[in-house]
Amino acid sequence: MISLLWSITIVSLLATLIISVYGIVAKPNLVKKLIALTIFGDTANVLVVLLGYRVIYPVKPPILPELSKRALGEFVKTAVDPLPQALVITAVVIGMAVNILIAFAVIQIYRIYGTLDVREVGKTLPELLRREEA
């Protein structure tokens, strides 16, 4: 039962990854592209947290109360691996910076072109360049 749930989780995460990449590539609206990108980043983070998880009961949070052999032994037996979580925290912070930058660019494109559709932007771009040259 547990292994079934486990495989369903992994398969659904992988499916989300693929769908979000499809969203980034295929959706013409820039805001939808940004949303798909955040979904992609978050799914990757969940996937990495999942890789560090272990099905063990009773589960304790990965906190080492004191530095001794006995506490360390208990830690290894009951805690999940905290390192992927540390990696994910870093990735979340970096992802936020990238998302804010992209959100800024989307707003700026809306100000310049008055549209968020990449097809419209693609059509308007050569006209804008020609006007600059003229």
């Binding site: 990854l17 990449v21 980034i24 820039l30 592209k33 990108l37 992609f40 980043g41 990757a44 983070n45 996937l47 990495v48 890789l51 560090g52 530095l67 001794s68 052999k69 360390l72 390192l83 992927p84 990696l87 870093t90 990735a91 970096i94 992802g95 910076a97 990238v98 930058l101 992209i102 660019a105 989307v106 700026q108 494109i109 310049i112 072109y113 932007v121 308007t124 771009l125 804008l128 360049l129 040259e133």
Partner: protein, 522 residues
């Protein structure tokens, strides 16, 4: 503090302190410029010192942050290859900081430009010096975010914001894929330290993580495939090249020079670190078949990329777009050489990386002098400007002849090395090199003809200012000098760098020496 740890720290400190400083000096452009020159200059000094230390020592240099050794903490491990490329990077960043002042004289927000510029330099040096796969991810992100923002520097111009957005979207997807690769790698091996990973791959012992946790072959296969894809996006190799011809021209010319000369090297360098240091040397048969499959893919994509870049150069009207396609072509050569996987190929790749960085930066900078004067990137608008600006024209000539591979300029010698290596592997690859070089020659001759002999469409006030043309002249002389002493440079600097990069045993040994000192307080 150790110079290995210090080199990326200096630009980070200068970058973070710059916004506050600029408020204190009320945005005085000259003080901001002096500040940026100090920042990049100190970094250059540090990189020179690092270069001396790395080349006088037989082993890689190590810095353990906070005294935490591998694999518990993040360590920086600089070998000769890192130090050589770091020196080139720091030198170019310093020279281009001089160039930027006049180029951006009409623009507001010089302090924000330099904040991002110093951040970019910190990220680049961090990528080159780090000894930890996760820190590599962080530093690639630092580099990328600064690069996305710098591409969007002309934020009121529609084309540069669109180009920056495209770059940011594809770049973010790439780095996220590298992050997934790290997760898989950690799941398989239980560590992300390069020395430790390499030790586990080669079946050597290492403290704390002595044996892999999971299936090494599957983990390596998945992780290498994802990581390579991410690095090929960063290096703009076909089919992940499409962001580059828009992003590089849209940036200000000094930034185009940095992006095309230095930032794309990040992808190739990371690939080299993985394929030569971690997965280099003798492997078990199943692992070596994974690495071999990857090499074939790299050679194929590199060859397609080189031909594609060369062909697209012929049809461009925008001079910076033409140069950007040439970058795709040269990245194709580098990836082909990396895919071959011998020490000789690596040494050719390193030498070509260095030469391409100098020549491509020079090409963008000298084209930037004309673009700055004419106010347009269109090749026809630049017609006839060459006769008014002799120094910039000379630099343009040196850069384009060098990139085509005309002796005695520097790129000729690295192309010669690449040709030898390709011929040994497969004559088709050598043919790709020759055909794409000849095609590129036609494209460059067209630019040069237009700039030198073309009839001016409108009267442009042409004057050369010493800070921009001077930087071009210095780089042009560097092209000639490196070309003239190429055999010496190869035997004294490039070959040792390649030899040390493939010598994974010394790389592991040095990290082990430090790791043996780890006391966990038990």
């Amino acid at each position: 503090m150790n110079v290995v740890g210090l080199t990326p720290i200096i630009p980070i400190l200068f970058a973070f302190a710059l916004p506050l400083t600029s408020i204190l000096v009320k945005g005085d452009r000259r003080i901001v410029q002096a500040y940026a020159l100090t920042g990049t200059g100190l970094t250059l000094l540090s990189a020179v010192k690092l270069f001396q230390l790395a080349y006088s020592s037989k082993e890689p240099l190590i810095y353990t942050f906070g005294g935490w050794t591998a694999p518990v903490g993040i360590i920086y491990e600089a070998d000769k290859m890192s130090a050589l490329i770091a020196l080139v990077t720091a030198t170019l960043m310093f020279l281009i900081a001089i160039y930027s002042y006049r180029y951006l004289e009409g623009e507001a927000g010089l302090e924000w430009y330099y904040t991002l510029y110093l951040g970019l330099e910190a990220g680049l040096l961090g990528v080159l010096l780090t000894g930890d796969a996760f820190n590599l991810f962080v530093m690639i992100e630092v580099t990328s975010i600064a690069a996305y923002a710098l591409v969007m520097y002309y934020r009121d111009r529609g084309d540069s914001v669109v180009a920056g957005l495209k770059y940011a979207l594809i770049g973010a997807v790439g780095t996220t894929m590298y992050f997934i690769a790290l997760g898989v790698l950690y799941y398989g091996f239980g560590t992300l330290n390069f020395a430790n990973l390499s030790a586990l791959v080669h079946g050597m012992s290492f403290p704390v993580v002595g044996k892999p946790y999971g299936d090494v072959v599957i983990a390596s296969g998945v992780a290498l495939a994802l990581a390579t894809w991410a690095f090929l996006i960063k290096a703009a190799v076909f089919p992940n090249h499409f962001w580059l011809p828009e992003a590089h021209p849209a940036a200000p010319s000094p930034i185009s020079a940095i992006l095309s000369g230095v930032v794309v090297n990040v992808g190739v360098y990371a690939l080299v670190r993985f394929l030569y240091t971690v997965y280099g040397g003798a492997l078990t048969s199943s692992l070596s078949s994974v690495v071999h499959a990857l090499s074939v893919v790299l050679m194929l994509l590199g060859a397609v990329s080189a031909l594609f870049g060369a062909l697209m150069m012929l049809v461009q009207k925008d001079v910076k777009r033409l140069i950007a396609y040439s970058t795709i072509m040269h990245m194709g050569y580098l990836v082909m050489a990396v895919g071959i996987g011998t020490q000789l190929a690596l040494s050719a790749a390193i030498f070509h990386m260095v030469n391409h960085a100098i020549a491509k930066a020079l090409l963008f900078l000298s084209a930037g002098v004309f673009i700055h004067a004419a106010g347009s990137r269109n090749l026809e608008d630049l017609a006839g400007l060459g006769r008014k600006m002799p120094v910039a024209t000379f630099s343009l000539a040196v850069a384009s002849l060098s990139l085509v591979g005309v002796p005695p300029f520097n790129v000729f010698f690295s192309k010669l090395l690449l040709f030898d290596v390709f011929l040994d592997e497969n004559p088709v690859l050598a043919l790709v090199l020759v055909v794409s070089s000849v095609t590129a020659l036609v494209a460059y001759v067209r630019v040069f003809y237009e700039v030198w002999l073309g009839k001016p469409r409108k009267e442009v006030e042409g004057r050369e200012c010493w800070s921009m043309s001077g930087v071009c002249l210095v780089l042009a002389l560097a092209c000639v000098v490196v070309g003239l002493v190429a055999p010496y440079v190869v035997s004294h600097y490039v070959d040792p760098a390649a030899a040390q990069a493939v010598d994974y045993k010394v790389y592991i040994q040095k990290a082990l020496e430090y790791a043996a000192k780890t006391k966990l307080g038990l």
